[in-house]
């Protein structure tokens, strides 16, 4: 029980932070709390939230994935090229997702078989994947798709924008995998104590490799939404996305040491970042100052977490 207690207590704190932030913005600018603006926030948050879901798997397993932004670009380019060559939409999407998952698995193999630190392996991939995207497109965006594809970003389901629905589905599935399946349990125990997990007979390298595959897949799902929304796939898309995803995960209370955390916190973390950006935009705060504010929020969120933990022990 205490474990759930601690986890939910931490999550409640993050949720309270989100709530307080929203009330503050509502007081400062009435336009914040309108249905259209809130839907707008959710829509803006969707891409970061989906990447952060994959990042949460990686960070719980005790790793880090710096390549997600580049994988968004590469998967988007692959998807766009498939669409332009006349492939049916589902097949093109499958191609994009396959590229994301495949490159993620390569990250994982570099870490498990190659015994590279995750930071280095994914830093290398960040550059390699970006280079592949640029090489493949000769540096030019691929634009103009079938309205059927663009509907993935523009249509609404019962008034809810499709990207928001997609995010919800991704989180429901990811949550199920993380908390109900063997794979999810192994992700936690590898992050908690890799050697004890190995000695318990778990094929650690396989599951660790899959974790990076999941992260690559999440990036590719985000790439589908991004490409549909912009009606264009850019080889320079997704720059700095890794930092937003790590920030959302960490603000959500997942420990960078691994073994602890969850998706409930991550979605709140992503929303805090989305709400903050939206609110600062509405208030007309310059984007330069926005960067400073967001950076400080990340640092303080983690500072509060580490201070609370230090006090407990």
């Amino acid at each position: 029980m205490p474990r759930r207690f601690v986890a939910s207590g931490r999550r409640l704190g993050t949720l309270a932070g989100l709530f307080a932030l929203s009330v503050l913005l509502w007081a400062l600018t009435p336009h914040f709390l309108t249905v259209s603006n809130l839907l707008n926030v959710f829509e803006q948050t969707a891409i970061n939230a989906i990447i952060a879901a994959g990042m949460t798997f990686v960070i719980i397993s005790g790793g880090i994935d710096l390549s997600v932004g580049s994988l968004v670009a590469l998967a988007g380019v692959a998807l766009a090229a498939a669409l332009q060559s006349g492939a049916p939409i589902p097949l093109a999407i499958a191609a994009g997702l396959g590229v994301g998952f495949g490159f993620g698995v390569l990250n994982g193999l570099a870490i498990t078989w190659g015994r590279l630190p995750p930071f280095i392996a994914t830093l290398g991939m960040m550059s390699v994947a970006r280079g592949c995207a640029l090489l493949f497109t000769e540096g030019r965006p691929i634009s103009g798709f079938d309205p059927g594809f663009r509907a993935l970003a523009t249509s609404r389901l019962l008034g809810i924008p499709a990207p928001v629905v997609a995010t919800a589905v991704v989180y429901l599935i990811a949550r199920f995998v993380l908390s109900e399946t063997r794979f999810g349990r192994y992700v936690y125990s590898i992050g908690g104590n890799e050697e004890a997990t190995r000695l318990s007979g778990v094929t650690v390298w396989l599951h660790k490799t899959l974790v990076y595959g999941v992260s690559g897949l999440a990036s590719a799902i985000a790439a589908v939404l991004l490409t549909a929304r912009l009606n264009s796939a850019q080889p320079i898309a997704g720059i700095m996305y890794e930092l937003d995803a790590i920030a959302a995960t960490v603000i959500g209370g997942t420990s960078l040491m691994g073994g602890e955390g969850g998706l409930g916190g991550t979605i709140i973390g992503a929303l805090i970042m989305g709400v903050l950006r939206n609110g600062l935009n509405l208030l007309g705060v310059s984007s330069f100052i926005q960067q400073i504010v967001i950076g400080l929020v990340i640092v303080f969120a983690v500072l509060i977490d580490t201070t609370l933990k230090a006090r407990k022990t």
């Binding site: 109900e180 104590n193 004890a196 997990t197 007979g201 778990v202």
Partner: protein, 489 residues
């Protein structure tokens, strides 16, 4: 040192210990693993504080609350694992943090090198002060440590097993250096398991046992006398009386070698027996356990189960073959501390508890509830995190995880280290019951009474080899210790 006491949760590590050291003497400190030698030295070096007693230096009481205090009083310790920065030069290591400076914080390299050279020379070595420590031999690194202690004006030098990694000629050099130190009035406390060499280097020896001072006698002293002092005590009668019959052969290890710590080891393990494995630290016992558990792959030799050769290339192979390992280092290798008791129990058997990859939480809870009751694990709920449990209860979780998995061969490495007496009894009874039910248990322990009290047979290892194998009625403390020390029986 007078009347030193130190308690750890559940154990009295030091009980009214007195120890005196004269100027310029080499005082050997002897005792089995866990006799309290290290704790006493940790108190003297300020690494841990005493609960009672006083320490007098030149007749004056001193406070000694931290390693810094000890350093200021001229007490230096050289641990088995050196505290050197391998990438830096010998001279830089000797003066680390106290570099001779010119103005504005610039290191005076010439003085650094000259003073280091002077110190090293005074020890009779020819080490180049600008050589990087990682390029030096173990013996040379040790001399750098000694020089570092001298640069701190050490008057008392504590050396923990200084000769264990040295060759014969290097040991001669070490003793020569120690001779130079004592002639200058430096006192040396020398901890070693190598009986033969104590009489060569030491002036007096103190024997410790069970956290108590047993005797202090002048050296040279006859080795059998020292061994008797080290082990002479009643074998506690709190062990369950073995009432089991040895069954058929279950596991056989044939000529297994791996690295320097495991050389041509052969062992046979029968159903329904507890085979105790004794030996000093570093004798290769844990390495043997890891090879059988599939955690390490042997370079040579083979392992047979029920007469059939098995390939154990990963822990998962061993588990499938019914072999479970309760590792020596519980925190690092045994438990996943951030996970619940139930999740720790379930870890090796998740495939059995899940269908198409989805865990049945109900079956997981049932499994945990059953074993928590059976092993009387004190935990508020199965969902409690393992890290909040006591050491004894954590150990029961690790044991229970293998019982739940139905292991036939159970390897327990130091099963009762760091746990309280009551939990120890329970673990003894549990191991006894398992063996009676037909499991084969390989029990590694540094606790001699535990080995003698629990085992049907005792295997003694020394420097990676099997030194001796005794039946229960043949095994005595003196015999086992003799073999563990590498002395002919």
């Amino acid at each position: 040192m007078r009347g030193i006491c130190k308690r750890f949760p559940g154990v009295k590590a030091l009980d009214e210990v007195c120890f005196d050291l004269r100027r310029g003497e080499v005082h050997a400190l002897l005792g089995e693993n866990g006799a309290g030698k290290s704790t006493l030295m940790r108190v003297l070096s300020g690494a841990c504080t005493r609960d009672a007693g006083e320490i007098l230096l030149d007749g004056q009481p001193v406070s000694l609350q931290s390693p810094r205090d000890a350093q200021a009083l001229g007490i230096s310790t050289i641990y088995q694992e050196f505290n050197l920065v391998p990438q830096l030069s010998a001279a830089e290591n000797i003066f680390l943090g106290r570099e001779p400076l010119r103005f504005a914080g610039i290191v005076n390299r010439r003085r650094l090198r000259d003073e280091a050279a002077r110190l090293l020379e005074s020890l009779g070595t020819t080490i180049d002060p600008s050589a990087r420590v990682k390029d030096l031999s173990v013996a040379e690194q040790q001399m750098v440590e000694v020089a570092k202690a001298l640069s701190l004006d050490a008057r008392i030098l504590i050396m923990d097993e200084p000769s264990s990694a040295l060759t014969e000629s290097e040991i001669d050099q070490l003793f020569a250096a120690i001779g130079r130190l004592t002639s200058r009035g430096v006192s040396v406390i020398y901890i070693s398991h190598r009986m033969e060499e104590l009489s060569r280097v030491g002036h007096r020896a103190t024997v410790m046992r069970d956290g108590r001072h047993i005797a202090t006698l002048p050296l040279p002293a006859p080795i059998p006398e020292l061994v008797r002092l080290m082990v002479d005590r009643d074998v506690a009668d709190h062990f369950p009386t073995p009432s089991r019959a040895r069954g058929t052969e279950l596991l056989r290890v044939e000529h297994v070698s791996r690295g320097p710590r495991l050389r041509d080891v052969s062992v046979t393990l029968y159903r329904g027996e507890i085979l105790g494995v004794a030996g000093l630290l570093g004798a290769g016992r844990t390495e043997l356990a890891r090879v059988i558990a599939g955690a390490d792959i042997p370079e040579q030799g083979r392992i047979l189960l029920d007469g059939q050769p098995v390939r154990l290339r990963a822990p998962s192979d061993a588990i499938r073959a019914g072999i479970g390992l309760v590792p020596e280092d519980r925190k690092r290798h045994g438990i996943v501390p951030s996970q619940s008791v139930a999740a720790n129990f379930a870890l090796p058997q998740l495939p059995r508890l899940s269908r198409v990859g989805v865990i049945s939480k109900r079956r997981e809870q049932n499994l945990a509830a059953r074993w928590i009751a059976d092993l009387r694990i004190k935990t508020p709920t199965p969902a409690t995190r393992v890290l909040t449990l006591s050491g004894g209860n954590q150990q029961k979780v690790v044991l229970g995880k293998w019982l739940a998995a139905g292991a036939d061969v159970l390897i327990v490495d130091e099963p009762t280290r760091g746990i309280d007496v009551a939990a120890k009894m329970e673990i003894y009874q549990l191991l006894d019951r398992l063996a009676a039910d037909g499991a084969a248990i390989l029990m590694i322990s540094s606790d001699l009474p535990e080995i003698l009290g629990m085992s049907d047979r005792v295997l003694v290892m020394h420097q990676g080899r099997v030194q001796a194998l005794y039946e229960r009625h043949e095994a005595t403390q003196a015999r086992v210790l003799h073999a563990a020390l590498g002395l002919a029986s």
